[in-house]
């Protein structure tokens, strides 16, 4: 699997919808969907920073490494 994005878990904890999160981070809902569904090839530090700020969490809460 490699790097897994657990964004939906953190979103559920913070009770925030995808649309609201996308607006707060400043990315499109389509791009947030790519991120949520583990389709993204990379994540910018600026995006990660915004997600952590909005969800009040650490990068490790969102990103997880899973062995193949």
């Amino acid at each position: 699997m490699g790097i897994v994005v657990n964004l939906d878990v953190m979103m559920a904890k913070r009770k925030i919808s995808a649309g609201d999160l996308a607006k707060a981070i400043g990315i499109t809902p389509a791009n947030l969907s790519i991120l949520k569904n583990n389709k993204a090839k990379a994540i910018r530090f600026s995006t990660l920073e915004e997600i952590c700020r909005v969800l009040d969490c650490q990068p490790g809460d969102i990103l997880e490494y899973e062995k193949e």
Partner: protein
């Protein structure tokens, strides 16, 4: 004012005209060859016409495949889909078509030495297109990576 849209239209029209020209050429090839033999110098009248006809008909197939691929490529560019996997495939087809024409013409060198020059030019075009295909292939990878970087 000349712009990229008009340039694309001109390329598209030229491609379609060339496709039509290949069909016309194929239809009238025997007549054209007979006329060529009739007006050519005496030594060329001794040349065999059948191998020349076979080679030229064989060359029509990759030529048409290359022209149709070129047309599809232009359609994709018009749709602003430049760095996509399909275009790499079309460029690969065109490149192989050039190599096929070069191979057919190289076989015909036995009958007509002048075809050696045309075969070299066709192979050179094929090589250039192969390099362009490699460049576009890398660009597609970079674009995909960029599109999926959030």
């Amino acid at each position: 004012m000349w712009n990229s849209t008009k340039s694309l239209q001109l390329s598209s029209i030229c491609t379609k005209l060339l496709i039509a020209a290949v069909f016309v050429f194929a239809a009238f090839l025997p007549k054209m060859l007979n006329a060529y033999i009739a007006v050519s110098p005496a030594y060329s009248q001794l040349a065999q016409i059948t191998p020349l006809m076979v080679v030229l008909y064989l060359c029509c197939l990759p030529a048409l495949a290359a022209l149709f691929s070129l047309d599809r490529l232009l359609v994709n560019i018009k749709r602003e889909e430049v760095f996509v996997e399909r275009n790499v495939r079309y460029l690969r087809i065109i490149s192989w078509c050039c190599f096929a024409v070069a191979a057919f013409l190289a076989c015909a060198v036995y009958y007509y030495l002048i075809f050696l020059a045309v075969a070299i030019v066709a192979a050179f075009f094929g090589l250039i297109l192969r390099v362009v295909k490699n460049v576009i292939e890398e660009a597609v990878i970079i674009k995909t990576e960029n599109d999926f970087t959030i």
